[in-house]
């Protein structure tokens, strides 16, 4: 997906860019509103992550301009302010959602997905391997023409594997991605979800292999 991050704090921006690119997204970064306005004219973004306090103005001004120009690009506001403050009111100005800094990337992903799903998204993002078709937006998995319901963690696990087929993911890494850091989860917990997912995709010609001592990978049979 293609993101535009509008954030003036360079180190935070760098960290976020790093992380989003790590997940395979294309991300542009604007340090202020004027640069951001240039970006939105030249490129088409799936989603904009917008900071509120910016050097050349208030993020809400940008948000309002966007909505006044009938831009449909979903916007998630990243705010460092107290959530209590009525000053934010960003949802009223047309933001799709907001997150308070600092945030968990899992939550950011979840919110992005929720926003895109709500907006209807674009069908081109469907992934296909063997007889398995997966729409990450709607979270719908189709195995051999049959819809298979997925729970959230199964869905996210599938996404991780689909993003990099044949790549081996260690249990620890998968725990990092699936569970929040405040939970004390043993690595074995991941086996439960892998087992569930295997069951759901069986018959699709795609399998999740256990690579002993290293972790798991997804590959076509």
């Amino acid at each position: 997906m293609r993101f535009l991050l509008v954030e003036d704090n360079l180190s935070l921006a760098a960290a976020i860019l790093d992380r989003l690119r790590l997940d395979g997204h294309v991300v542009d970064h604007a340090e202020n509103i004027s640069v951001a306005e240039e970006f939105v004219v030249t490129a088409d973004y799936d989603l904009i992550l917008l900071d509120i306090m910016l050097p050349d103005g208030d993020g809400r001004t940008f948000l309002k301009t966007q909505r006044d120009h009938l831009s449909e690009t979903p916007v998630i506001v990243l705010t460092a302010r107290s959530e209590v403050s009525d000053r934010v009111g960003v949802l009223d100005l047309g933001a799709d959602d907001y997150l308070t800094k600092p945030f968990d990337f899992a939550e950011l992903e979840a919110r992005c997905r929720a926003v895109l799903r709500r907006r209807g998204g674009r069908p081109s993002n469907q992934k296909r391997i063997g007889a398995l078709i997966f729409d990450p937006l709607s979270g719908v998995l189709e195995v051999a023409g049959v819809d298979v319901p997925l729970r959230n963690k199964e869905l996210r696990l599938l996404e991780i594997f689909l993003a990099a087929p044949d790549q081996i993911f260690s249990k620890a890494r998968l725990v990092d991605r699936l569970f929040s850091y405040d939970e004390e989860v043993s690595e074995n917990a991941i086996e439960v979800y892998v087992a569930r997912l295997r069951k759901k995709i069986s018959g699709s010609g795609v399998e999740i292999q256990t690579v002993r001592g290293l972790g798991y990978r997804m590959r076509t049979q």
Binding site: R19, A80, S85, R87, R151, N152, S180
Partner: protein
Amino acid sequence: MSDSLRISGSIRRRLTIQLVGSAAVLATLLFLIVQTFTRDLAEETHDRILLASATSIMDAISVRAGDVTVDLPYAALSMLSNVSDDRVFYRVMLGAETLTGYDDLPVPEPGSRETGARFDTLVYKGETVRMATTVRWLSRNGVSTPLIISVAQTRTGQTERLAALTRTALLLGAGFFAVAVLLAVWTAQSSIRPLRQLAGMVSRRGPTDLRPVTRPVPAEMAPLVRSLNSFIDRLGLSLSRSEDFIAEAAHRVRTPLATVRTQAENTLHRIERPENRTALREMIRAIDESSRAAGQLLDHAMVSFRTDSLERKPFDLAELTAELVNRLRPVADLKDIDLELEMTGAHAMAGDPILVQNAVRNLLDNAIKYAPEETRITVSVRGDAAAHTLCIRDAAGGFPEDEMGSLTERFVRGRNAEGTVGSGLGLTIAREVAEAHGGRLEIANTKDGTGACVCLHFPSA
């Protein structure tokens, strides 16, 4: 605050008393003037009639063959009865000889060649009389002799009439005073009306209405209103500084935390050594805890700030809850937690929706945070004519019974929350918001003991 206000007198009372006092002085003056005037007028009228009577007698004097005689005209005495039913005396003297009338009426001795009229007040036959005397000089046998005519009348009628006039003057003064008192009350009332209007206008204002007073006021009140406006201005500035400070503090604390957290998370993805990974995870958890603590502290500051001057406006508790549940659903999904919403319809109440939203969000945050994976959290909104009740039921095992009372104190966290990030302010915030709205927070464990049930009760609008 109002207890410390010391009341010293009342402008209206002082104004009324002063006006009434002036009215009393003026009424007394009016009375005295009218009385003096009428008395003078009555005396003057009386004198004129007495003189007219004496003159008419003088006109009836005739000298026949050297004999002076008088044909007393009927009108001379009857005209006096037009003034009052008073006793009448007269005496006509030629030199020392009484021609006719009352021999013993004391007539003043005329100076030589004195003519014209004179008036005397004297006592005759046991009563005070007013007497007019007129003199004419006749030449008798070559000797100039005064012809003296005196007419006197008692003053009973005049006294009575004066008493009546005094009563009238008294009534006039009293009437003037009564009208003046009414006017004084009205004047006092109307002159403090702008003051009352200003007081009413300011006290009717909402707690956050910090606009200056712009409506026109009398010149005398301008300094007060100017000071008031300047005070409002400073108050507004100070309030917005407080808000700005909280927002700024949040920004300053959270942005670097966000940077550190994101970098830590990124690093975690790149390193493999378990010791390092554990250390990083610890770090992320510490960051989460501190950011959450900071968030709740700031939330709490903002909540305290807003509950101090609670502004009530109507909103729908059901709609607010539904929106919040939808916003938190992605977070719950991460743990495969079912967020179930039970409500029947709109629940109109009056209050600060931002505060209520914050309270409910804190409770829901807690519930999601502490609930195990793949469980269910039920949010219900119910209500009757008296109150709205919002309950959040989870399956997180419930609170330890012995801690129930202290859970809503600041920074107290349940033992069951050990190992989960959180500062423990969430319940406190929820309780304070509920109490600020005249409601309460209720904490209980579900009957089957599998979880907790936290309820917010708000009185209906």
